[in-house]
Symmetry: C2
Subunit: 246 residues, 2 copies
DNA sequence: GCAAAAGTGTTGGAAATACACCCATGT
DNA sequence: ACATGGGTGTATTTCCAACACTTTTGC
């Protein structure tokens, strides 16, 4: 980081103190984290929303966010918000993008960093239901508060792209799942239909599924086999991708 | 954004003023932008670096950055830095990632947002050479100041992935280029060798190159044809990608 | 005429797609 | 017995990788 303000640089070197004073000057900005928390239930992709804190947006839904503390790592702030809202802490979480328009927040300048999290809805019951916290179908998410619609859209697109390249989807499923569950997940997220046989072939060919020799229970049809995802094997085999593909 | 600090939320709605006071409270953080500016020259991928401002890092190179102004959009800050350092303003620029470890900067808490820019070295002469601003081979970039090595690595990886999926590379080339130029660019960025015939076939099949019916000049061998990239056609044809590919 | 890189096609293998029938279970 | 979805195999097509010779220019 440099400290040029006008493009004319005269002193090649600054003392630590000179920079400290700039960093501590009035030139500081409120920084928040907003979490887009995806879940999967009843074969639909869901997202966690709350009612906006703010009167101006009282009737609108918003993402889960909070200011980042002075002495808190950015990632840590995201984990804190997740923990506070869902009670979970060992979850998938990834930074997606930062949003910093001057006028994005009515209370003043707030730059926000968006994080995506994928959690298993069944592994956790929402306990803190303040602000009407609950799951919404992603299809029905419109007109969020602030610029949260834009943030949500960016994260949803990110997810769609991401699950095609990385095995994130498993975070949304129970540890044991059937191939049908897996396909439903992909179809829901990508909003598409896939051929059942080819889907199956593809995943078996990847060789990251462990057959745990159990079957579905209480289904009104022939039960399917259950599998676990083999993270270790995936880590070892990750492909190096070289090819051009616009 | 909400304002819960302890996970127990009592008031479901806050006034704008209540939030304003939080945003304006001491809970603010210095925010900077760091630019990783890539160029391509002599068949090598280059990056712009300066000497660190800071005595502590006096012998080290660092990225080009500056604090974000109170009333400045995040993207605008990145464009400003580019303009100040390179004199260019109509360039490719994209946000990559934010870095927010508490201890990443010795002068205090500074969260930084990394941007990548791709510019054509020939279209611009560096005029402001303060802090020994100049181009470095990416291969030789090691041991940057602050956490800039980490930022640089993230941006370089981002670039490698990105040029395989999107036609960014053309920003690094002159408007008119030969297929050899294009292949050299890809080989330099991806640090690999490609088959000339297959490369050619691939790009012609994409059908985004315009044959401008000119030839290379002053080359000591048979001159190649020159092409331009057809951005319009690309925008129309962009593929929708559905497929699983870990 | 020689050096250096441009330009050009074919072939074999791998992967993706499309597609239809039998099987196991619950009701 | 029937309804529901599970499980499997094959033929076709498409895409990718490997590979060698002729052409044009400058020197």
């Amino acid at each position: 980081m440099t400290t040029v303000a006008n493009g004319k640089m005269t002193k090649p070197v600054k003392s630590l103190m000179a920079i400290q004073s700039e960093v501590q000057s009035s030139n500081r900005i409120a920084l928040s984290v907003d979490c887009v928390i995806f879940g999967f239930d009843e074969n639909k992709l869901k997202v966690l929303l709350i009612r906006s804190d703010l009167k101006k947006y009282q009737s609108k839904w918003s993402l889960l966010g909070d200011l980042v503390g002075q002495h808190e790592d950015l990632d840590a702030a995201a984990y804190r918000i997740l923990k506070q809202r869902t009670g979970l802490d060992d979850v998938y979480l990834e930074q997606v993008h930062s949003f910093g328009s001057v006028s994005r927040h009515p209370a003043g300048r707030v730059v926000t960093v968006a994080y995506c999290s994928l959690i298993n809805v069944r592994h956790h019951k929402l306990k803190i239901l303040d602000n009407e916290l609950h799951w919404h179908d992603v299809q029905s998410v419109t007109d969020l508060a602030f610029d949260h619609q834009q943030i949500f859209n960016a994260c949803y697109q990110w997810l769609q792209k991401r699950i095609q390249e990385h095995p994130l989807g498993f975070n949304l499923l129970p540890k044991k799942f059937s191939l049908r569950d897996l396909q439903n997940l992909y179809e829901a997220i990508l909003d598409t239909k896939m051929d059942r046989r080819n889907f199956r072939k593809k995943f078996f060919a990847m060789d990251f599924l462990i057959d745990i020799d159990e079957m579905e229970q209480d289904v009104p049809h022939r039960p399917g086999k259950l599998y676990k995802f083999n993270y270790d094997k995936y880590e070892k085999k990750k492909k190096k991708w070289v090819g051009i593909d616009f």
